[in-house]
Amino acid sequence: MKRFVFIPFSLLFIFTVFCSAQDLNGEQIMERALNKSSWKDMVGQVRLILTNSRHEQRIRKIKMFNRKRNKDESDMLMRFVAPADVKGTGFLIIEHKNSDDDRYLYLPALRRVKRIASSGKGGNFMASDFTYYDIGKPKLKGWKYKRLKDEKIDSFDCYTIECIPATAEIARDTGYGKIIRWIRKDILVTIRSEYYDRGLRLFKKLNVPEIQKISGVWFQTDMIMQDIQNNHQSEMIFTDIKVNRNIPASFFSQRYLQRGK
């Protein structure tokens, strides 16, 4: 009897998923992916591994603090742990929805906080292959979405979404002419992306070999960004992620950046 009830129910479930998946357009999928349940703040360790075309590496260890100020804006503080000659260096990003972000660097050798002139979202994040745009949360507005044929990536069913900047301004700011994202259907996490330059030539590839669910939130805990054109690669590995620790707002200030208090 139990079985009897179960079958139509699950059928119904499959049917609705199928239906909804069929119905959703690119923008709706993106919207769902961006607005899925998330964290208020997080702390974690990052290992940033840069590899050049000769397979030489630069490894930085960073402690990272992140907080969502509101739905569209967040603050980020990073503190270098290694290499030794930049230990203690701090980096603060205050994101702004309608203007350029504020970026500050604290240099312990000079005991000064330096403002970093914004190079737009397309600037390289700490000389890596990730741009500020890549590491930030994508904004839904300003892009046109097109749903392409679903694909299976690493045995996961994925939506394939083509994102095209809606204005020349956004293209210039981000440096991209097109992005294709593969978003896992089951958990709505991007596990692969391709970035095209403004001339629509393939520029970079993002692979996410590892995702983890921490306190109910999915994190991309290993991201590999390959610059196809320059044969350069950057990998970010996250460990010790903790979420919703109620980090105070004063944490993301210039004083805290310098003092650590």
Partner: protein
């Protein structure tokens, strides 16, 4: 040996068939022949200079650069800068290009209110005069080394195009030169740099091949026509020439040996040499023909006499060329090996193809050659009498020539210069000279600074010594500018101290800095100014960190390796003169020895490769002369079964060489990678004349004694020797029509050497034999 000839004339079609079959195979391979005009690629891989250069190539992503210069009366105008901006953007997008450094894409480091910013000098092409003025202001206050992107008179803008190490520089140069030529602009655009020179060198070589080879073939046809005045007399030796050149080039293609600046001359050398045997054989054939004899009979008679001399002269010539391998320069060695192979090919065809073909033809009608021969013979008789009756005068003349030549020796200059090898009005030379006159220079000396551990290049002491070395280099003549990581650190240090020019230096080991600290006062956090000491290394590392915040991952890749273990200083030099480079090299090494102790320092770059070639030219010259003389002495001693005769045999060659070097000294012809070939080639080819003379003298000596034997020798051997020298000498003289000065000079030198070694054989040797009697002459004569 005659058995071989018998076989050949018995089955002429088989012999010809085999040759044609092989010819088809080699002709097929000929299309795969490669060109490699780059002189530096012929350096041996295992010499220190080359190893170092290759190591540098592995550490830094770009090595070669092309400099494009745009000249305009209104350089700082929106229109010109827009053009410049577009050219720069286009070049940046080329797949062969690693990076572009241009006035319009320069990354400037500027002080900002609260720190430092790294920004492209222009976001978009300037459209108003205001934009232009702002651009100009920033450019000239950037503190960046702009000597290679803005000319001294500020009328030209330079665009440095760095090529990826993975591409073939001359191919990239072809693309860029093509692009520049297609540019529709009123302004004059110049292009130069090593890749461009290599490209033009290759094009010049192709042109030489296309012009000189037909030239030498035409000359051969004329000589043959003059000598024989019949079709077979022209066709048969000509076929030998063409087939041996074809086989040789085909073989080179098969083995992947490229046509280089040296092997480029091979077709001309080989043609001139290869025709000689054919001339001998045809000449004899026509002389020996008597009514009633069949072709086969004549040819057997001729070959019985000629097989030996053809083999002997070919083998000695081949050995002479093989001696070129004593130089370590691979392209020169290739020229030696393949010319030697070609000479042997020519010998085989002369002994196979010509008899086989003649056997298939009807015997010749009696030719009307008597008159000409008689004229030459009377001249020969007069000449022989002159030598014998005035041997003292001849001897004094020879001694005078030798003294005069030796006086020229100290005047010989050793100089390799790719530029002066081009004609004065060649676009490659004009552009090179124009650009190098107005910019820092396109030849570079790279100074590699190698540490033992990662991060060592951030040490203040290392950077300070690098900065000092740059200052020293900039004071040297012909050094137009330098570029290194130290320049950027100095700039950053200045910018970070409110553009105070006293901070335009590398931070010291322990820097005193002024910063702020947050202190809690009355429960409030306030900022206070403080002064403190900090290791310079940390200051530098954090400047770089700050730079990286707005830079790209590979911004400094060409100046310092990824782990800051190895850095390099590039010094730009406005000349390719090996003598200037040598002086700079010596001074720099001396300076480094006394002033640089914070890391290991090595000198490399194109300038060092040129010097390495120069060294090899000197040692190669010495060894190849030595080896070819020893080989010739050995071969001829065996041949004559007498060491004395072997030694006597090289006297005409020694004379030719003494004259050659004396002439070079007096005529201001530089000894370089091309002209160095002269002596070895002259030995290889010129040895034949002495062999002929001594051989004939031994033969005449059997019947007559004393001066009379010499008289007969000169009369009988003198004419063929002289004719041979004229043929070969004229053939080599074709090289004088090359577009390259070096090849042109070599053509003249070898032609001269042919005549001097011929003179040595028919004047010096007779005089020596008239003064001294050698037992060996008596013993021999039966070989």
């Amino acid at each position: 040996m005659i058995k071989y000839t018998q076989k050949v004339v018995k089955h002429p079609w088989a012999a010809i068939g085999i040759i044609i079959l092989f010819t088809l195979v080699f002709a097929y391979f000929m299309r795969f022949i490669k060109m490699d005009p780059d002189i530096t690629s012929s350096l041996p891989k295992n010499i220190p200079a080359k190893l170092l250069y290759d190591r540098m190539t592995k550490i830094f992503p770009s090595r070669d650069f092309i400099l494009i210069a745009v000249e305009s009366d209104h350089l700082f105008s929106p229109a010109t800068l827009q053009t410049l901006y577009q050219i720069t953007e286009h070049l940046e997008d080329l797949p062969d290009v690693y990076s572009v450094m241009s006035p319009t894409n320069l990354k400037v480091i500027r002080g900002s209110e609260q720190g430092m910013e790294v920004k492209s000098i222009l976001k978009s092409p300037p459209s108003t005069l205001e934009d232009v003025n702002r651009f100009r202001q920033v450019l000239f206050h950037s503190d960046l080394p702009i000597e290679n992107i803005i000319s001294k008179d500020r009328r030209m803008a330079g665009i440095m195009v760095f090529l990826k190490n993975t591409v073939k520089p001359e191919d990239a140069a072809a693309q860029i030169v093509d692009y520049v030529n297609r540019l529709k602009t009123k302004d004059h655009v110049y292009v130069t740099g090593k890749p461009v020179l290599t490209l033009y060198l290759g094009r010049g070589m192709s042109r030489d091949m296309g012009m000189l080879f037909p030239g030498v073939i035409l000359l051969i046809i004329l000589i043959l026509l003059f000598s024989f005045r019949n079709v077979r007399g022209i066709l048969l030796p000509l076929s030998v020439v063409l087939i041996s050149v074809l086989w040789t080039i085909g073989l080179m293609a098969m083995l992947g040996v490229p046509i280089s600046h040296s092997t480029n001359m091979l077709p001309i050398l080989l043609s001139s040499i290869a025709v000689a045997d054919g001339i001998h054989i045809i000449n004899h054939y026509l002389n020996q023909a008597r009514p009633g004899m069949s072709s086969t009979q004549i040819i057997l008679k001729v070959m019985e006499e000629l097989n030996a001399p053809v083999i002997i002269t070919s083998v000695t010539t081949a050995f002479g060329f093989l001696a070129l391998n004593a130089s370590n320069i691979s392209s020169v060695g290739d020229l030696g090996i393949f010319t030697a192979t070609g000479v042997i090919f020519a010998m085989i065809f002369s002994l196979t193809f010509i008899p086989a073909a003649l056997a298939l033809m009807k015997p010749p009608k009696q030719t009307v050659k008597q008159k000409k021969t008689r004229l030459l013979n009377t001249l020969a008789v007069k000449y022989a009498d002159l030598i014998i009756n005035h041997k003292n005068w001849v001897l004094s003349f020879i001694v005078l020539v030798i003294i005069f030549s030796i006086l020229g020796f100290p005047r010989i200059k050793l100089e390799n210069n790719t530029i002066s090898n081009f004609p004065k009005d060649h676009p490659a030379r004009l552009d090179y000279e124009h650009i190098n006159r107005h910019f820092a220079g396109t030849t570079f000396l790279s100074i590699m600074v190698e540490g033992d551990s990662s991060g060592q290049m951030k040490e203040p002491r290392v950077l300070q010594q690098m900065a000092d070395l740059e200052t020293y280099l900039k004071d040297q003549p012909h050094v137009g500018g330098t570029l290194s990581l130290a320049d950027f650190i100095r700039r950053m240090n200045k910018v970070m101290h409110a553009d105070d020019s006293t901070y335009d230096r590398i931070p010291p080991e322990v820097a005193t800095e002024h910063g702020t600290d947050w202190v809690l006062e009355n429960g409030k956090w306030i900022q206070k100014e403080i002064s403190f000491k900090v290791p310079g290394r940390e200051v530098i590392a954090q400047y770089l960190q700050l730079y990286e915040m707005s830079g790209k991952p590979d911004d400094f890749a060409n100046l310092v390796d990824y782990r800051y273990k190895t850095a390099r200083i590039n010094a730009f030099i406005d000349t390719e003169s090996s003598n200037t480079l040598r002086t700079l090299d010596h001074k720099t090494r001396k300076y480094i020895k006394t002033h640089f102790n914070s890391a290991r320092v090595e000198l490399t770059g194109t300038s060092e490769l040129f010097l390495a070639i120069n060294d090899l030219v000197v040692s190669g010259q010495f060894y190849s002369i030595l080896v070819s003389l020893v080989l010739v002495i050995l071969v001829t001693s065996v041949l004559f079964r007498s060491l004395i005769l072997g030694l006597l045999n090289v006297i005409p060659l020694l004379f030719a060489m003494i004259f050659n070097f004396g002439f070079m000294g007096w005529a201001h012809i530089h000894l370089n990678i091309v002209t160095m070939l002269t002596s070895s080639i002259a030995i290889g080819v010129g040895v034949d004349y002495a062999v002929h003379l001594i051989h004939r003298y031994q033969w005449e000596y059997k019947n007559t004694e004393g001066p009379e034997a010499m008289r007969l020798t000169i009369i009988h051997a003198g004419v063929p020797i002289l004719l041979n020298a004229i043929t070969v000498g004229l053939g080599f003289a074709i090289l004088a029509f090359s577009i390259f000065t070096g090849v042109e000079q070599m053509g003249i030198l070898i032609s001269l050497a042919m005549f001097t070694s011929c003179f040595g054989a028919i004047a010096i040797l007779p005089v020596i034999f008239l003064f001294y009697r050698f037992k060996a002459i008596k013993h021999g004569g039966n070989s």
